[in-house]
């Protein structure tokens, strides 16, 4: 009698992970903003518990104002970081723009709006120079914009001194056009008894626009591609040089916008302002999930990062703490947020 051997039983087919389904929760946690949102909730609850004045709506409005002044610039800086570049001149570029508008319209006694237009041209030019030098010479943007940072810082102080013989810009509130410009750039309105500044609205609008550009348009795809790997992007037909220059000019545009708010809110600008803010923008973007190496991140994340920074900034005052703890807190926050981001992303990507 012939022996029949049983055919070895094949193991059950393993699910192909490439077509596997991730749970909704895992998908949510894999988004770049997930860690930042978790961090923001934790910090909000923390200050909510320990600082009674933090709880009411008008305090939150002040917190949102601080957030928006940083968040307006953090948005294009985040886009630039996704595109793989840094801009360390972003902080002083805001002051340069404001000083340009103020000094031009004062010295030539023009309508305030003329100064606004001239400042826009200057800011776009600074952005163009940054981008062009990075693209043409191949020098890391960190170094190029660092040089630009020092030059702008010096120019702010020196030109203001030379032109007006003072270290702060002159009073332009009596110029025609100041009132209307103030309404556009620096007004505030009341919602339900709470005073909200218009920069908050502008910030939210710009974040929505930036998110839409990143996620829904071809240009957004290009930004991710250029940041992920510029040679590969170039090989596929993405105009890498134009994208980078465009991103730097976007930072310049927003520096103009923020500068105009500062100018029409405070009228006189101190020529030494703005130094140190560039790191806040980068912190906000990184806390929000942007990778330093580029190719990953989101504008919403940078907005949440700015919100975290604003909450810490104001929360410390509301809690009545010694303000010297502020910088320690910022550093600990940065480390904590990055660790949290990395942990959540690893867990999310592992759970398929």
């Amino acid at each position: 009698m012939a022996q029949t051997t049983e055919a070895p039983v094949a193991p059950p087919p393993r699910a192909d992970e490439r077509v596997g389904q991730k749970s909704t929760l895992a998908r949510l946690f894999a988004r770049p903003e997930a860690g930042a949102i978790a961090g923001a909730i934790v910090i909000y609850l923390f200050f909510f518990i320990i600082a009674p004045p933090f709880r009411n709506a008008s305090s939150f409005s002040t917190t949102l104002y601080v957030t928006s002044t940083y968040g307006l610039m953090a948005t294009p800086v985040a886009l630039l970081m996704i595109g793989g570049e840094f801009d360390l001149s972003a902080g002083v570029a805001v002051t340069s723009s404001a000083l340009c508008a103020s000094l031009f319209s004062y010295e030539f006694t023009t309508n305030a709006w003329v100064g606004v237009v001239v400042a826009l041209a200057l800011s776009l030019l600074i952005g163009f120079i940054n981008g062009w030098v990075v693209v043409k010479t191949g020098i890391p943007s960190f170094l190029v914009t660092l040089g630009m940072f020092f030059m702008l810082q010096g120019l702010n102080l020196a030109l203001t001194q030379t032109i007006t013989n003072q270290v702060a810009s002159p009073d332009i509130s009596t110029l025609q056009g100041f009132g209307s410009a103030q309404k556009v750039f620096a007004s505030s309105f009341t919602i339900g008894g709470v005073n909200v500044r218009i920069t908050v609205v502008y910030w939210i609008v710009w974040v929505i626009i930036a998110t839409w550009i990143l996620l829904r348009t071809r240009v957004g795809n290009w930004i991710f591609a250029v940041g992920g790997s510029a040679p590969s992007a170039r090989a596929v037909g993405v105009p890498v040089a134009k994208m980078k220059i465009g991103l730097f000019m976007a930072v310049g545009f927003m520096a103009w916008f923020t500068g105009m708010h500062t100018l029409f809110q405070f009228n006189t600008i101190q020529s030494g302002q703005g130094v140190g803010n560039e790191f806040v923008y980068i912190i906000a973007a990184v806390v929000g999930g942007c990778l330093l190496t580029g190719g990953y991140g989101s504008a919403v994340g940078a907005a949440i990062g700015a919100l975290i920074f604003g909450m810490v900034n104001q929360g410390i005052v509301y809690a009545g703490w010694n303000p010297y703890w502020f910088t320690f807190f910022v550093g600990a926050l940065l480390l904590g947020a990055i660790l949290l981001n990395t942990y959540i992303r690893r867990r999310a990507e592992a759970s398929v």
Partner: protein, 338 residues
């Protein structure tokens, strides 16, 4: 660049230019300011025919603080009168300021005028200058130990005395909880002012301090608004610099606070606010005079061996500028000299 793009840019520039030229403002701006001043902007006083000396003035000015402009105007006026070359430099970091003083010693200047906000860091370098044979006068900060540092004279305000006077006046005005706003950390003269205010208030009221970032207007606005919101019992805010006071006006209205605003030191915009009543009074230490006397006293020493003061502080303040005397000061303030 393709020709069409070049043409587009050319057209854009061509269109913008007439727009720029045509859009002049009928009010405000430089034209109005010059008309208001009527031509004279500096206290000119002729020109000495003594040897040309070089004097270095090194301060702890933070970039953008308008207070130091007034000191510089005074120093430049004296330098113009005395045929002196003035080399002005500043750094808010005490170590860097000490390095600037050392630079002046190495350049073998004829005289040094210096502020001393941090005696531990700066005094040793001042003593080196004196040992090198360079006469040193001090002003504005460091009133408590300028003699030990080796200075010949000191022009300024005793901040403790000024704070005391301010505190007494606040108590008279009925202030019960005063917020003292410091725009920098680690500066002895700012701390002395707040301490003086607390002492002057005595048992009539309490003083709370808040530190803000004096070089960032938005941050100052937010911090002060937050503090005023956090503590509703504050009924008086006293700032230690004119730019801070100008931002405090916005902070007080943002926080819906009824606190009254007082300040140390003035500038042109602040004088206008005193006139309008947004600021009640300002403690004036006459910075123009400090700058002027520092340079002038060194010239007197170099040309005639004179020393002003007899080893005792030459006081330039405090003087209170309030609604009753602001009109007189106003025109000098517009020129940037008060």
């Amino acid at each position: 660049m393709p020709r069409s793009r070049r043409r587009a840019i050319g057209i854009a520039l061509f269109m913008i230019l007439p727009l720029v030229l045509a859009a002049c403002s009928a009010t405000g701006g430089k034209k109005a300011a010059q008309a208001a001043q009527g031509g004279g902007t500096s206290v000119a006083a002729g020109h000495a025919n003594t040897q040309r000396y070089t004097i270095a003035m090194i301060t702890h000015a933070a970039p953008g603080d308008t207070f130091w402009d007034i000191i510089r105007h005074g120093a430049l006026a004296a330098a113009a009168k005395d045929n002196i070359t003035l080399k002005y430099s500043s750094d808010p970091d005490p170590t860097k300021q000490a390095a600037l003083i050392q630079d002046a010693i190495n350049s073998k200047v004829n005289g040094i005028a210096v502020t001393d906000p941090n005696p531990a860091a700066i005094c040793p370098t001042i003593q080196k200058a004196v040992q090198a044979g360079i006469p040193v006068v001090m002003f504005n900060a460091g009133v408590n130990n300028w003699q030990q540092c080796g200075g010949m004279s000191y022009f300024g305000q005793d901040e403790s005395i000024a704070g005391l006077a301010a505190g007494k006046r606040l108590a008279q005005a009925g202030a019960k909880h005063v917020l003292c706003v410091l725009q920098a950390t680690g500066q002895v003269q700012l701390e002395a002012r707040c301490a003086g205010v607390a002492k002057g208030l005595g048992s009539e009221g309490t003083m709370t301090k808040v530190y803000v970032n004096g070089t960032d207007n938005s941050a100052m606005l937010s911090s002060m608004t937050a503090k005023l919101t956090q503590d509703k019992s504050i009924d008086a805010v006293i700032t230690l610099g004119a730019p801070v006071a100008l931002v405090a006006i916005q902070a007080i209205s943002s926080a819906n606070s009824t606190a009254k605003l007082y300040t140390f030191d003035t500038n042109a915009a602040l004088i206008a606010k005193i006139k309008s009543g947004a600021v009640q009074w300002a403690v004036d230490q006459q910075p123009y005079l400090q700058g002027y006397l520092s340079v002038d006293s060194l010239w007197l020493y170099l040309t005639n061996g004179n020393i002003i003061g007899g080893g005792v502080t030459v006081l330039t303040g405090p003087a209170f500028i309030d609604a009753s005397n602001v009109a007189k000061v106003s025109q000098y303030a517009l020129a940037g000299n008060r």
